[in-house]
C-alpha cells in the first residue's frame, strides 16, 4: 500500500479526483434510496452546502441539500457552509483507498474543518453511511470504530451501488 505514496503527484491527484467523484455521485444516489442516509440528512436545512477538498488547491467537490435529498454540485468549492480539507494529497489518498478511516484522519491532524463543528459531525456521520456502500467489508472492519452490519436488503443495495458506479462516474464526470 505504501507504494501509493511513490506515485507522481499528477497520478495521485487523478486518483483523488475519481474517489471524490465516486463519493459525490454515490452520496446523491443513496440520499434517495438508503433509509439510514435519509434519516441522517432529514434534519439538515434546505440549501446546506458542504464540500471536501484537498489543500492547497484541490481537487474538491461540493454537495447540497435540495428537495429533501443531496445533489452533487460538481467539482470545486461552490460557496460551502462547511468544508473538510485534507492537508495534503497523501493524507487524502489514505482515506480514499481505505487505508484509514475518516475519524482517524481527524485524530491524526490530517484533516481540518472550516465551519460549524456540529454540522461537521452530521456530515461525517452521513459520509460514513456512504462509505459503507462504497468500501468492501474488510476495509470497513479496519477503518470504522464500529463496523456496520448490513441487512440483506442493504447488501443488495450495496451491490447495485457498485454496479452503477462506473456509468454513474462517466455521467457525472462532465458535471
Amino acid at each position: 500500500m505504501t507504494r501509493l505514496f511513490l506515485l507522481r503527484y499528477s497520478v495521485k491527484r487523478k486518483i483523488a479526483e475519481i474517489a471524490l467523484l465516486a463519493l459525490g455521485v454515490t452520496f446523491e444516489y443513496l440520499s434517495r434510496s438508503c433509509a439510514a442516509l435519509k434519516k441522517e440528512i432529514d434534519g439538515w436545512e434546505e440549501g446546506r452546502v458542504f464540500a471536501l477538498s484537498v489543500l492547497p488547491d484541490g481537487p474538491a467537490i461540493s454537495l447540497k441539500k435540495e428537495g429533501g435529498a443531496i445533489r452533487y454540485l460538481g467539482r470545486g468549492l461552490k460557496q460551502p457552509n462547511l468544508t473538510f480539507y485534507f492537508k495534503n494529497i497523501d493524507s487524502a489518498l489514505m482515506v480514499f483507498v481505505g487505508m484509514m478511516g475518516a475519524h482517524t484522519a481527524s485524530v491524526q491532524h490530517r484533516t481540518i474543518v472550516h465551519g460549524d463543528i456540529g454540522t461537521a459531525m452530521e456530515a461525517l456521520r452521513a459520509m460514513n453511511v456512504v462509505q459503507t456502500y462504497l468500501m468492501p467489508g474488510f476495509v470497513l472492519k479496519s477503518t470504522f470504530k464500529r463496523p456496520p452490519k448490513l441487512s440483506i436488503g442493504e447488501l443488495l443495495l450495496k451491490a447495485w451501488v457498485m454496479l452503477r458506479l462506473v456509468p454513474g462516474l462517466i455521467a457525472a464526470a462532465s458535471r
Binding site: H103, Q108, H109, I112, V113, A120, K145, R146
Partner: protein, 391 residues
C-alpha cells in the same frame, strides 16, 4: 508506536510560584506591550484578586489601560465585541485575562476580533483559520480546572444565531500563563471541587482517547498525580497555598495534555449538559467522568488500567478490566469525598437537570466534536444510556 502521526504544540511560557504575578509587567515589556486591557468578572473582583494585579503594576513601566469586569459565565459574541471596542477606545496593546475559563475564553475571542479586524466571529469558526499574529495575551487563572491558559481552544456563543462557536488555532495560545498561589485561594469549596474535577477529566480523557501521544501521556499522568494528591486538600482547607499552587499546576498540565490529545464522550456530554441545562462545566464533568470511562471499557480497558498505580496507590492484580474498574472506583471515591466536603453533586438529578431533558442533551452530545476522539463510537441511544445511568 502509539499512533501513526501525532502533533504536539504548546508555545506558552509558564511562570508558576510565589509572587509570580509580579513578573507580569516585565513579561509585557518583553513582548513590546505596555498598556493592558484586563478581562475579568465580578466574582474575581469581589474576591479582591484584582488588587494583586494592580499592585504588580505599581512602579512598573507598564500600566492598566482598562478593566472589564462584566464577563458572563459563558462568553458571547456580544460581550466579545463590546470588550474589543473598549480595547481600541482605551488604546491598549495587550490583553490580560484574570479569571476562570469564562474570562480566558472571552479574552481569546477579543483577541480574534481585534487581530482579524472583524465583528463577525462566525467567519472564523472551525480549525486553523486564524493566520495573523495575535496581540500579546497573558493569563492569570483564578480557577484550577479548564487549563484554558495553555489551550488552543475558545468557545463563544453566538447570541443571534443561538449556536456555540468553537475556534481552534495555534494562534489562540496565550503568550504567558502566570500561576500565583494567591489567585486561587479565595475559590469557594464547591467551585474548587468542580473545577478540579474538570482538570482530572482533561487528564483522564487525554490519556485514553484516540489522539493520545507519548508527550500528552506523560503530562496527563503528572496532572493525575498532582490532582489526586491536592484536590481534596484544597477543598477542605482552601488557604493551603502549597496545595492551591499544585492544583493550579495540575490544571495547566492537564490543559497542555488535552490541547494536544483532545477529550471524549465525557466532555461531549458535559458540553451538551451545559448548553441545554446550564450545568457548570466542572460539575457536569465530575458527574459524568466515571460513567464515560465505563462506557469505554470495551475498547480501552488496557489503557485505563495503566492508570491503576496512580489512582489506587499501587498496581493491583487482575485482568485489564479489573484494574480499569478499580481506577473508575477510585474516581467515584474521590467524587464522594468532594461531595461530602463541598456538596458537589454526583448525579445529574442533583445538578438541576430535569429528566425530560436527557434526550435533548443526547441529541446535542452526538454533534460535539469530542466524540470523534472517543475510543468507542457514540450514538444517540448510547449517549442517552450514559445520561440515564448518570441521572
Amino acid at each position: 508506536m502509539s499512533n501513526d502521526l501525532f502533533e504536539f504544540f504548546c508555545p506558552v511560557k509558564v511562570i508558576s510560584g510565589l509572587q509570580a504575578l509580579a513578573n507580569l509587567p516585565h513579561e509585557m515589556d518583553q513582548l513590546g506591550a505596555h498598556r493592558a486591557l484586563i478581562v475579568t468578572d465580578k466574582g474575581v473582583v469581589g474576591a479582591g484578586l484584582i488588587k494583586h494585579v494592580e499592585a504588580a503594576f505599581e512602579g512598573a513601566g507598564c500600566e492598566i489601560g482598562r478593566i472589564f469586569d462584566e464577563t458572563p459565565p459563558d462568553s458571547s459574541n456580544v460581550v466579545v465585541n463590546q470588550v474589543a471596542a473598549l480595547y481600541r477606545e482605551s488604546k491598549c496593546d495587550c490583553i490580560v485575562a484574570v479569571g476562570g475559563g469564562s474570562c480566558i475564553d472571552t479574552a481569546k475571542g477579543v483577541n480574534i476580533v481585534i487581530t482579524e479586524e472583524t465583528d463577525d466571529l462566525m467567519k472564523f469558526r472551525g480549525a486553523e483559520r486564524l493566520k495573523k499574529q495575535m496581540r500579546p495575551m497573558f493569563v492569570v487563572p483564578t480557577t484550577a480546572g479548564t487549563g484554558s491558559e495553555v489551550t488552543l481552544v475558545a468557545v463563544i456563543s453566538n447570541v443571534q444565531a443561538g449556536v456555540k462557536m468553537a475556534f481552534t488555532s495555534d494562534r489562540l495560545y496565550p503568550n504567558v500563563a502566570i500561576l500565583d498561589p494567591r489567585m486561587t485561594l479565595t475559590m469557594p469549596p464547591k467551585i474548587t471541587a468542580a473545577t478540579g474535577m474538570d482538570a482530572l477529566t482533561h487528564a483522564c480523557e487525554a490519556y485514553y482517547c484516540l489522539q493520545k501521544n507519548p508527550i500528552s501521556d506523560s503530562l496527563a499522568i503528572t496532572a493525575i498525580k498532582l490532582t489526586l494528591a491536592n484536590l481534596a486538600t484544597c477543598v477542605e482547607n482552601g488557604s493551603n497555598e502549597r496545595a492551591r499552587l499544585s492544583m493550579a499546576e495540575a490544571s495547566l498540565i492537564a490543559g497542555m495534555a488535552f490541547s494536544n490529545s483532545m477529550v471524549g464522550i465525557v466532555h461531549a456530554i458535559a458540553h451538551a449538559t451545559g448548553g441545554v441545562c446550564h450545568v457548570p462545566h466542572g460539575i457536569a464533568n465530575a458527574i459524568l467522568l466515571p460513567f464515560g470511562m465505563e462506557y469505554n471499557l470495551g475498547k480501552s480497558a488496557g489503557v485505563i488500567a495503566e492508570l491503576a498505580p496512580y489512582f489506587c496507590g499501587r498496581d493491583i492484580p487482575g485482568s485489564d478490566e479489573d484494574r480499569a474498574r478499580a481506577v473508575i472506583q477510585a474516581v467515584r471515591d474521590l467524587g464522594a469525598k468532594l461531595n461530602k466536603l463541598s456538596g458537589m453533586p454526583l448525579r445529574l438529578r442533583d445538578a438541576g437537570v430535569p429528566e425530560d431533558k436527557l434526550a435533548d442533551i443526547a441529541k446535542v452530545a452526538v454533534n460535539d466534536g469530542a466524540t470523534v476522539y472517543n475510543p468507542e463510537e457514540v450514538t444517540f441511544d448510547e449517549a442517552l444510556g450514559v445520561l440515564r445511568r448518570a441521572y
